[in-house]
Amino acid sequence: MGIYEEIASNKRRSFFLIFFFFGMVILLGLVIGLYYGSELFGIIFSLFIGFIYFLFSWYGGAGTILAMTKAKEATKPKYTHLINTVEGLSIAAGLPKPPKVYVIEDSALNAFATGRDPEHSSVTVTTGLLEKMNRLELEGVIAHELSHIKNFDIRVMLLASVMVGLTVLLSDFLLRSFLWGRRDRENNGVTIVLILVGFALAILAPIVGEIIKLSLSRKREYLADASGALLTRYPKGLADALRKIQNDPDPLVDHANKATAHLFISTPFRKTKSSFTKNLFSTHPPIEDRIKRLESM
């Protein structure tokens, strides 16, 4: 699949995501409404919350992420080389303008890209990465991140995070209503069934959302590796960088958490043994696999 087909399919994916979670929000709203005795109220309520939440995240999400990871904008002359590398590869990628460049003061080797589209995007690297990578490896990493931007992966991931956050919020509200809600209503059969269905929904919706988000994230990594290699014309650069990252004894990024983990080029947590559930919930495909694919290019 060419890069332009990829972008088109990512835009479809974004649309599908919005559509899917829109349905989820309405469903949760319906259950909330049924519980409080007015379906219309429930749906309007959850759509309203959803709309506000969406606006905040769409326009402020990237800024929040940067603030959460304590990223600071890179400036010349200290980071001239980094800024030049990002600008050069942006030209190679044909981006309308280079993304903003940020730096996290952290000895871990990591990087991420975020934003809602290529015009409003940013690339962030840790100072550890700048110190330990040579020029070719740094180019490999930056090219990988720029591919996320060019392919609109950043938008898919931003939307996915927004949607998961929203379903968690609404499910939480629903569960709290059940636990602390009005007791004066009569406990007939319908209410009990409703409560059971609501419970199941409230517990399952965030999990399903999370699994969708993570499987999207894993697929994007292979693609960004491949299209990044197309930019530098040197897959070995990224392969070497990934190997360095893999052998890094301290992969923990201090200010990374579960909410931002899927953004990074490699998992920002300590390694644990892999298992099925671990794979289902991991944000990244195994690094050895990514290196192998790069080296066979």
């Binding site: 001239t80 590398t85 590869l89 044909g94």
Partner: protein, 181 residues
């Protein structure tokens, strides 16, 4: 019945032509855009070179030849066709390489803050030119390919689309090989 079939076919053909035309326009715009990216970077390097010369001049008294070479190549960059620009650009690249190679033996120059900054900027611009060229040549390849495949080639000729030149890589590699007996 027959007439509605004919109308249907005409509509499909017209839609197809519109689609092909638009896709060719898009590709051509990308080529133009890519070319202007190269031009921007060439201009940037053009502007940086006088600064470099004036910084370096004081230190490199015995290397007049290298400096003159850069100045000469820089002058030939302003005008000319794409191929001439490509050639001049390659000459500057080589001349700059030799300046920086010579600078290695001038420790005072190497310690100069201004020189360090210029070196970083110029090597950054140098790789930006390489990337811009890569993007341009990719775009040209896609465009030229579209002009040649059927059925686009028919309409491309009809609408007067012309193939574009590649921005040649290394001037030296491109020269014809002289065979001597």
């Amino acid at each position: 019945m027959v007439s509605s079939w004919i109308i249907g076919i005409i509509v499909v053909v017209v839609l197809l032509i519109i689609y092909i035309y638009n896709s060719l326009i898009k590709l051509r715009m990308r080529v133009n855009n890519a070319w202007s990216q190269i031009d921007v970077q060439l201009k940037r390097r053009f502007d940086l070179i006088p600064n470099l010369i004036s910084t370096v001049k004081g230190y490199m008294k015995h290397e007049k030849g290298v400096l003159e070479e850069v100045t000469k190549a820089r002058a030939s960059l302003v005008t000319g066709s794409m191929q001439q620009k490509a050639k001049a650009s390659n000459q500057i690249t080589d001349a700059l390489k030799s300046i920086f190679a010579v600078a290695e033996s001038y420790p005072q120059l190497k310690a100069n803050e201004n020189f360090k900054m210029l070196q970083e900027e110029l090597s950054g611009t140098e790789s930006k030119i390489a990337y811009a060229r890569q993007f341009y040549n990719d775009s040209v390849m896609l465009f030229n390919e579209a002009l040649q495949v059927f059925p686009k080639n028919i309409f491309a000729k009809l609408f007067g689309f012309k193939e574009r030149e590649f921005f040649s890589t290394k001037g030296k590699e491109r020269e014809n090989v002289k065979v001597e007996f």
